[in-house]
């Protein structure tokens, strides 16, 4: 939602700051328990850490040695999300692989750790592993199956927010909390700035939850509180090919470049761990991309012949309580700080953790928040599906206008808005045409997403639909998207080039660090189309 006036001076029990998966999970939990809650996100939902990771739903195995508590939490939350989030989770399964270059002793400790934390694993032979994943290195010595899955961060966040909506949970995007107001040691409300118009509104409330991940220290500073957090940068590569059919992990002490996650038609590979200059530090360097590509070849030797679509990075909110811990040694576990101890009641920060355990984190903090309102209702987020299954009547109608596999995909991306897109396609056969061929986005779906008031930029619509995230990286569908929004009469106060350039720039930013091999011809084509043929950045003659 973007309507700010409608909530100005309106009381909310709880204000959540941060539209990542943690904030979205808390919004859902509190709304289900009956608290009147609103979430404010300074840009678009899922535009930060929740979409800037490898998209792995951990089985827990990765933390079996280094963080047994996190391993156990991951194992149980993995099962929960497979139950409640089937439209965001791809139950691909996972594999741990030890090559002859990796430490044998670690394998023993890992097995012990998995057993101790209740993490499922099953030994298979190296031969079986290579049969299941034909691209695997011949250096493979031992392999195990685990319950890793792929998870779509964009969908997970939206589905939480939309599910919260059924219970009255509200949200605003491009809504920057400029000030947390308090009096007599108690939070009284927030001032929120519309990042598009610059206008400010006041929202009175009883409690503010800071769920801003790597930005939480900045947010806490609004009330002068200190949070021990260290943004840590993780770089990743997206390959234009699904070269494994399940998640493949390297069985060694967690290190750089040891996770491959297949998603739809691409594979995400990562990560690294290095000091981030700040929470917004999301641009990998050329050197990082090259370094990662080299590491990928150690597990999948043929990978050099695959095209890298882009390199990207996210910042993790790692806990740095005493500043002694660094990088991967810092705990992935989460911490809840009630700032009542600093003399401010009604302000709570949650930080650390990982996407796989977002629901559990939300449950824990919601328990504390509910306690403040004397609400005794138990958490039900693990019991109810985020998005109910598509009804048979919708599926029957969809079959007539969308190819069968397409309907489920569109439903997963649009959720409750699926019927709007379906009606568009039913009413006008032209709306069944594909706008983005790589990611299978029809005009009907695109226009449905574009019409939302949360779609401020083409990148916002991209996050909703995945348009522009495939092979062409927007070279062709980018212009088509612009034609579509102009056709709908949206955004005409801005020029076409002003709307499209930020989108292209954002695509280019990811292509740039990994521009070599098969990526290079595509990059040259994109640049030639928009700069040479269309002169998108050109000024006017005198």
């Amino acid at each position: 939602m973007r309507d700010f006036k409608g909530i100005a001076d309106t009381w909310f029990d709880v204000v959540i700051i941060g539209g990542g998966v943690t904030g979205a999970g808390i919004l859902r939990d509190l709304s289900m328990r009956g608290l009147k809650t609103v979430l404010f996100e300074k840009s678009d939902l899922a535009s930060g850490t929740s979409s800037r990771f490898h998209g792995l739903l951990h089985s827990g195995a990765r933390y079996a040695v280094t963080d047994p508590e996190a391993a156990a939490e991951c194992a149980s939350e993995n099962a929960v999300l497979n139950r409640i989030a089937k439209y965001a989770v791809e139950p691909s399964g996972g594999m741990f692989v030890r090559t002859k270059n990796d430490d044998r002793d670690f394998e023993e400790r890992w097995k012990e750790g998995c057993s101790a934390s209740g993490v499922f694993f099953e030994r298979i032979s190296a031969g079986e592993a290579r049969e299941m994943e034909p691209g695997l290195t011949s250096d493979t010595e031992s392999a195990y199956l685990v319950k890793d899955c792929a998870v779509d961060g964009f969908r997970l966040v939206w589905q939480n927010v939309l599910s919260a909506g059924f219970y009255g949970g509200d949200f605003r995007t491009y809504a920057e909390v400029a000030c947390i107001e308090h009096s007599g040691g108690k939070v009284t409300g927030v001032r929120v700035r519309d990042a598009v118009s610059g206008e400010e509104i006041s929202v009175p409330c009883g409690c503010v939850v800071n769920a801003t991940g790597p930005w939480s220290a900045h947010t806490a500073k609004l009330v002068g509180a200190h949070i021990g957090i260290k943004p840590d940068k993780g770089a990743l590569l997206a390959f234009n090919h699904r070269f494994c059919s399940r998640v493949v992990n390297r069985l060694r002490m967690p290190s750089d470049g040891d996770i491959f996650v297949p998603h739809g038609s691409v594979t995400i590979f990562g990560t690294t761990s290095s000091d981030a200059s700040g929470p917004d530090d999301s641009q990998p360097s050329d050197a990082e991309a090259r370094y990662l590509a080299g590491l990928a070849g150690e597990i999948f030797p043929e990978i050099e012949s695959h095209r890298i679509l882009r390199a990207f990075a996210g910042t993790r909110p790692l806990i740095d309580l005493d500043h002694a811990h660094l990088g991967r040694d810092a705990s992935r576990n989460f911490i809840i700080t009630d700032h009542e101890k600093d003399g401010l009641s009604g302000f709570i920060t949650i930080f650390g953790g990982k996407l796989t355990t977002y629901r559990l984190m939300a449950e824990k903090i919601s328990d504390i928040v509910c306690g403040k309102f004397f609400i005794t209702k138990k958490c039900r987020t693990a019991e109810e599906e985020l998005l109910p299954s598509m009804s048979q009547s919708l599926a029957d109608r969809a079959k007539k206008v969308f190819p069968p596999s397409g309907a489920e995909l569109i439903y997963a991306r649009l959720g409750p808005l699926f019927e709007t897109a379906l009606k568009k396609a039913e009413a006008d056969p032209r709306r069944r045409e594909l706008l983005c061929e790589c990611e299978f986005v029809t005009l009907a779906e695109y226009e449905t997403a574009a019409a939302l008031d949360t779609s401020v930029s083409l990148s916002d619509i991209r996050r909703r639909t995945r348009m522009g995230m495939g092979t062409c990286q927007g070279s062709f569908c980018g212009f088509r998207a612009l034609v579509s929004v102009f056709g709908m009469g949206l955004n005409r106060e801005r020029g076409g080039a002003e709307i499209l350039l930020p989108f292209l720039n954002e695509r280019w930013k990811g292509m740039k660090p990994a521009m070599w091999g098969l990526q290079m011809p595509e990059a040259e084509l994109m640049k030639n189309i928009y700069s040479s043929s269309l002169n998108i950045s050109g000024g006017q003659p005198e």
Partner: protein
Amino acid sequence: MNGKIYDNIVIGAGMAGLLNAVFSASSGKSVKLITAGAGSLTIGSGLIDLLGYSTVGGILKDPFDGFSTLEAGHPYLKCGRAAIDKAVRAFLDICDKRGFPYLPANGCRFVPTAMGRLKPSFLVPPSMDMESLRGAETVYVAGVDGMKDFSPEIICGAFSSMEYFKCKRFEPLSVSLPELGAAGFGSMEAARFMDSEEGCSAFIDRLKGKINTGCGMIIPPILGSKPGLWVYERVKSELNAEICESAVIPPAVTGYRLRSMLMGFLGDLGVELAENARVISAEVKNGRCISVSTAGPGGVKSHRADNFTVASGGFYGGGLTSAAGRVWESVFGLPVKTPDGWASADFSERQNYSGFGVSVNDRLNACDILGKPVYENVYFAGRIIAGADSPYEHSGNGVALATSYLAASLL
């Protein structure tokens, strides 16, 4: 036939390859053209940009005004002004001779683009010259109902806010051509429809009454798919309006027209074609290339010639290949110099990779650091040559024209 030794074997069927084959065959040489794909003329707009922007900033009134700012090593500086002038005249002569005349050279000419920008170009067909709309107060921007990738509103919005057009009024308009279907067709399908009498009259009839006489019109490139101006002339005279086709995203009808014209000429000149053939290796002896081998549907074949012209394009064309940190020329494996930082993170900025290519001397032979040719009978033409950032400076096809002409004249 494989035993024949040609005067010139041309590798690549983009602008540089086609022109080099035309120029060398016109002067009586026996020529074979080897092509792996359709060539990048089908991607671009068929316009010849010479130099649209000065490297120190700003749109140039006349491309030659910007030559003094070119960096050392730019292909234009290897060719020299005299050869470029001759190349331009030779190109225009061919266009006239083949019944698809381009407008005479006269400084930068501006072409409207589907993005709502003006693109400074140099050699332009009359149907794309924005100057023709100078006298029109009202300019209709007309799209075709249901056609992909063209929005009159984008162009109207952008042009209406330009100081350059302050005396004009832009109006969006939509023409209905249900013969093409409700949706899913592009400018190529529309242009083919306009090739027919039925299509041409339908377009004219449905516009009559919607526009004022003496007005201007900007339209997608749909005035016929074939090289020639008859559709343009007819629509213009029957509607009594000035018309300008715009540059659009691929496939580009206007580039396709130029390609058809040049391919037709090559056929008449008796140039032999080896299509769908990718050059996989070259046989070299004593600093000369003896033959190249191709792989294609008919298997591996060897092609012999006294001279070879490599017009294989850049990364997109396949003339350059890269791996992390390394670039090489694809046929001979020549190393390509690559400064650190191949690309800028800002899409609009200069991109270093655009200038990556083969270093040549002023005879267009690949040369070592001392300027000594590597193979004296191998010439390079077009994008494969290092030193021009064509998307930034808007020299696309201009470098191809100049170097393909010079290479042909050196045979």
